[in-house]
Every structure is written in C-alpha cells, then in structure tokens.
Amino acid sequence: MSLGDKSVYSPLTNLKNLFKKPITVKYPKEILKVFPKDGVSPIYRGLHTNDLNKCIGCGMCQRICPFDAIEMKVIGENEQGRAIKKPVVDYGRCSFCGFCVDVCPTNSLKMSRHYIYKVKTVKSMSAKEEVEHIKQKFKLMPDESLGDDIGYNTGKAKKILG
C-alpha cells in the first residue's frame, strides 16, 4: 500500500472488484475453498482425535483436564466383564490447552488441525430439544475420528507431562 499521490482515476480502481470473486461465502458449503487447511500450523491445537485401538482407558486425560471437559464413557465390556471406558471431549468446556494430549501414556490422544465445528439442527425440534441436541453433538464421541490431519501431538512436541 502506498500513501503517495493518487491518480485521478483511482476511484475507478474499485470497478475491478466487480469481476473478482466475492470474499464472503455461503457457509458451511464453501468453507474449505476459502480457508484451506494448509495455512494452519502443523502443531495446531484443534479438535481432538483418539486412536481407540491404542487407548487403554486409563483416564489420565480426564484427571489432568483443567476444565473438566473429559468424561470417561463406557462403550462395552471386555472378556473379564470389566467396563471399557473411552474419553468423550465436551467442546462446550474444552480450552484447547492440549494437556490431555501431553499426559496420554499411549500417545493415542492427539489434536487435529480441524477447528470448525458445525452442528445441523432439525427444524421440527422445539427450542428445548434443540439445546439438548446441540449439547450432545458438541462432543467428540469415541467413534469419531479426525485422524487424517494430525496437529498437536506428543510425537511432534516432545512429551512433557507424563
């Protein structure tokens, strides 16, 4: 940008915006085109992802979480009849500090570079139902995975808490 003398035609330069693509987009349809993930840092602390095969359900992540965002959910039983627990992250509480990732002894819990969380609401729902619906959807359930785009994890940033 220069602040020098401007040409008399300078107001006309705005006309070129007529032929440019708009900056605004129809969210959430076009979102990825405008915000390509390449710009996001390789150690971005975004939404979590957990490798269920590695997670041993130890609950360390739940204990360290400063904001009580992690709840251990029972997802089944093993052969000895003991409950298998896996963490559920509530994004209404999470501060994206990444301490749960640091503390995970198996390195199964990682953070991804995804940061956009959208919830589809159903029109027929009442206001009260909708709140409940969003509350439930605003969590990372054990069976969801964002493992294709790993950000902050203890491999990239050396382990600090464990």
């Binding site: 602040l3 996001v40 150690i43």
Partner: protein, 382 residues
C-alpha cells in the same frame, strides 16, 4: 449490586438551572474495554463525578487457582489479560521456579523472552489501534488489527494456539521453534518496521491526534510513582524504570534492553511512548534471535501432573505492555497453590487515577483517556 444503575442515562438533579445527568459508561460502550464501567455524573457534556463500577468483571481467578493443580493453572492465567497473555504465564511459572529453587535452561529463557516480546508487539498494536479508534481514526485501527494477525499466525506456528498460548510451564517451555519459524518471524518484523512509516502518517503525525491528546490526562513524575503506575505510562512521565532492566528475569540479563523515557506525561506522550517502544521491541526480538543458544528447552521436573511445590512463597514480576504484572504465590507443599495473588498493571490508573482525571473532562475524551493509559479492566479485579 448497590451502585450499578439499571439505566443508561437519567436525570438526577437540577443545579443552577442546569440538569445533572448520570450516564453509565459501561461495557456496551465501544470505547470501554472489558466488563467494566464508570458511572459518570455530568452537567452537559462535562463530567463532575465518577464512580468506577466493576460489574460482572470479577471472575474469581485467584480463588479458582487454589482449587487446581499447579500445571492446570497454566490454562487459566493467560485469561487475565487477553491482549497480552504471556506475561501471566511467565510470571506464574517464574514464581513456582523461585519456590522450587531451580534455574531453567538458557534456551527456554530465550524462548520465553521471544514470546513475551511478540506478545508485547501484538498488544501494542491492539493498544495503538484502540487509541486510533477512540479518536475516530478507524483506518489506522484496521491496519493495525490486520498486522496483529500476522503475529498471531506466528504464535500459532510456535505454540499451536493463536490467543491463549499456554506455552510456558514450570521448568521451561512446551515446544521448541518450529521449522521455518525464525525466517517467518524475521519477515514479519521487517514488515512491521516498514509499516511504522504508515502508522506515523496515519496516527502519530495526524493533527487530530495531536489536538485531541495534547494535555489530556497529565500525570506528573511524582504522581506517576505515587499512584503506582508502571510500564510505558511511568516512563512517559520521565521515570526510567523497567522491570526488564531493574529486576531482570528470563533472558533479559543477557540482552541489552534500552529503556526509553520521555518527559511530558500527557496522553500524547504516552501514545508516542508506545510507538517508540514498539520499534525497540522489534530490535530486541532480532537481538534475542541472534544470541539464542542451542540446548534443552525444559528441565525435567518429573511428572508435572503430580508436581508438588515445597512449602514457601515467592513474588515474580514481569514487564508487560501495560506495566508490571506480578504474581505472589504461596505453597503449603501440596499439589495445588495455597494462595495466588495477582498484581495487575491497570489497577492504579483504572480505579485511582480515574477519580482524579475524569472530573472536569469532556465525555468525548473518556475513551481516548482510557486507551492512552492502556487500561485493560480484566486485570483490575481478578
């Protein structure tokens, strides 16, 4: 709450044929930062009396910290100052390290210094932008906000988060520099240095700012000390005091920090003070990058989630963009702090000076006065 009015503007009395109004200059006013307010008693546009009102500002940080593990608090402390979060982390960690009697690795000290100075830059940009907006120069504010984003991008690459970095932990820092980070940082510094010419033209040489700020909110050299001002506000009143030089922490003992002081003490001097310190901060980051040693970034303090700090107490202070941030930490030897007290830099100006300066001031000048003293209410009531 007793003194919080439920109205915006109301007539409260008549005096010499003039109506006395009470105006709530609160969080919904664009010139106010944070959930803070002043209840202004006015005749016409002139303020006659002021009552600071903390409203919903109190978030109970200090009490909350007593209920969390030492390391969990790292996620909490940066929230005390949104614009300049890193001084909180570093002060809190330094206090813990003082009680533990450990010395962190040199590289960690430099990394902390670099984040502190980057945070300073971003906060100065926000501060200068707020000042510009308070006098109606929105172009300058927009450019500064855009430039601040470049620094936030760098933070994202260094720490993984843009605003609350949670980068310092007891014993050192969490990550080392990412690949290509230093080149990016140099590029942004060069860009900001070039931009200074534009900031000067748009803001600091702008006649509007000179007319509006000259003589506004004058603080004498003695008053600045008496009221407890710190940081750029203190130095703009002619007191050469800077925590980075007078009680150095992190890597500042290894760096040659230039303390800038000006005589003047009014809002214009304080604005120019920020501009000068901004330039100096750019140079300081360059010097820090050049002298940064290789090595470890963290002391091994064992499992931090089970960290126990021995019985003791310590005070650690850090120079932030607004002044001195201090953390007084007391430990009873347990897993959680016994007590943490935070000294925020905005308290003296936001509460005490306000009652001296605002009476006789015009209502239009309140926002500019606040921005010139860099009053950031969230650290007034923790």
């Amino acid at each position: 709450m007793m003194d919080s009015p439920s109205y915006m503007l109301s007539k409260i009395a008549e005096k010499d044929n003039l109506t006395v109004y009470e105006l709530f200059f609160g969080p919904n006013h664009p010139g106010m930062h944070g959930n803070f307010g002043y209840v202004l008693e006015m005749i016409g546009t002139e303020i006659v009396k002021v009552r600071p009102n903390a409203g919903h500002l109190h978030r109970g940080f200090e009490k909350l910290m007593e209920q969390k593990l030492w390391v969990q608090n790292i996620a909490l402390v940066p929230r005390i100052c949104v614009a300049d979060p890193d001084p909180n982390e570093v002060a809190y960690c330094t206090a813990i390290e003082k009680i533990l009697r450990v010395d962190i690795p040199d590289r960690a000290k430099f990394l902390r210094t670099i984040t502190l100075e980057m945070s300073r830059l971003s906060s100065f940009l926000m501060g200068m932008g707020a000042l510009a907006a308070a006098v109606g120069l929105y172009t300058a504010m927009n450019i500064m906000t855009a430039d601040r984003d470049l620094i936030l991008d760098l933070f994202e690459w260094l720490t993984g988060a843009r605003v609350y970095h949670m980068f310092s932990i007891p014993g050192g820092v969490r990550n080392d520099l990412a690949d290509g980070f230093v080149e990016r940082l140099y590029k942004v510094l060069d860009h900001l240095e070039k931009r200074l010419i534009e900031y000067d033209k748009l803001l600091f040489e702008n006649p509007i700012i000179h007319k509006r700020l000259k003589g506004l909110g004058y603080v004498s050299k003695e008053d600045a000390v008496k009221y407890g001002l710190t940081g750029p506000n203190l130095r703009a009143s002619g007191n050469p005091y800077d925590v980075r030089v007078d009680d150095p922490y992190a890597a500042y003992p290894y760096l040659d920090v230039r303390v800038i002081t000006q005589e003047g003490g009014d809002a214009l001097t304080r604005a120019i003070q920020i501009r000068l310190e901004f330039e100096e901060t750019i140079n300081l980051i360059r010097r820090a990058l050049k002298t940064m040693p290789e090595g470890e970034i963290r002391l091994n303090l064992g499992n931090l989630s089970a960290l126990k700090v021995p019985k003791g107490e310590a005070y650690a202070k850090v120079e932030s963009s607004k002044g001195e941030f201090g953390y007084y930490v007391v430990s009873d030897g347990g897993m959680k702090p016994y007590r943490v007290a935070v000294r925020g830099p905005s308290l003296p100006a936001g509460l005490l000076l306000a009652q001296k300066h605002l009476p006789k001031m015009k209502i239009d000048d309140v926002a500019a006065w606040m921005a010139s003293l860099a009053i950031c209410p969230p650290d007034i009531d923790k």
